[in-house]
C-alpha cells in the first residue's frame, strides 16, 4: 500500500477531501490489532467520528480498488446515518469510481438502488436498480443478494 497505493495522486486527493487518515504500525503498537479486532495487515477501517465502523478491508488493494473501497465506505456511512440524499449522490460517485471493478461495481449498484429507494420511498426505484444489477452482473455476489426479487 505504501509503495503504490498511497503515493497515487488520486488516492492522496480523495483521502484529503473526505477522510482524516490515522495509521498504526503494528510492530510498534501491537495492541491495536486487538483494539480493532484484526489479525491481518494491511487492515483498512472506515469509521465516523463517533467510532462507528462503516467498512473494513483486509489485504493489499491497488489504487483503483482502494478508491472503490473508500467511495463505498462513504455511501455506507450516509446510509447508516439515514442521510439518503447524500447516499444517492455518493452512490453515483461510487458507480463512476468502481466502473470496471467486477467486485465493487455491482456492490455500488446494489447500494445506489437502496439509496434511491430510501430517499424516495418508492420501491419501484429499488426494483429498477436491482433488475439492472441482475442483468449487468448476474454472477456477482450482489446480484445473488437481490435475486429474490425475481420471485
Amino acid at each position: 500500500m505504501g509503495t503504490v497505493t498511497y503515493p497515487n495522486p488520486e488516492v492522496e486527493r480523495y483521502i484529503h477531501q473526505y477522510f482524516v487518515p490515522v495509521q498504526f504500525n503494528i510492530v510498534e503498537r501491537p495492541e491495536v490489532m486487538d483494539q480493532f479486532n484484526s489479525t491481518w495487515t494491511p487492515t483498512i477501517i472506515v469509521q465516523d467520528a463517533d467510532g462507528r465502523e462503516h467498512r473494513r478491508a483486509q489485504g493489499y488493494l491497488d489504487p483503483q480498488r482502494f478508491l472503490g473501497e473508500l467511495a463505498l465506505a462513504r455511501v455506507k456511512a450516509a446510509i447508516d446515518r439515514h442521510d439518503y440524499q447524500a447516499a444517492q449522490q455518493r452512490a453515483q460517485e461510487a458507480l463512476e469510481m468502481t466502473e470496471g471493478d467486477p467486485v465493487r461495481e455491482p456492490e455500488a449498484l446494489y447500494w445506489a438502488s437502496v439509496a434511491d429507494y430510501k430517499a424516495s420511498n418508492d420501491v419501484n426505484k429499488l426494483l429498477h436498480g436491482w433488475r439492472e444489477l441482475l442483468n449487468e452482473f448476474p454472477e456477482s455476489e450482489w446480484a445473488k443478494r437481490a435475486e429474490f426479487i425475481r420471485g
Binding site: 498511497y6 487518515p21 490515522v22 465516523d48 462513504r74 456511512a77
Partner: protein
Amino acid sequence: MAGENIPWRHSLEEARNEARQQNKLVLIDLFNPN
C-alpha cells in the same frame, strides 16, 4: 513510513476530533512495515 505524502495522524482521538470538526470520516490503516 508508508504513504509519506499522506498526513497520517497517529492518535485515534485526534483523528476523531478532526473528523468531527471537518465533517469527515476516519480512515484507519493498520500496517506491518516488515
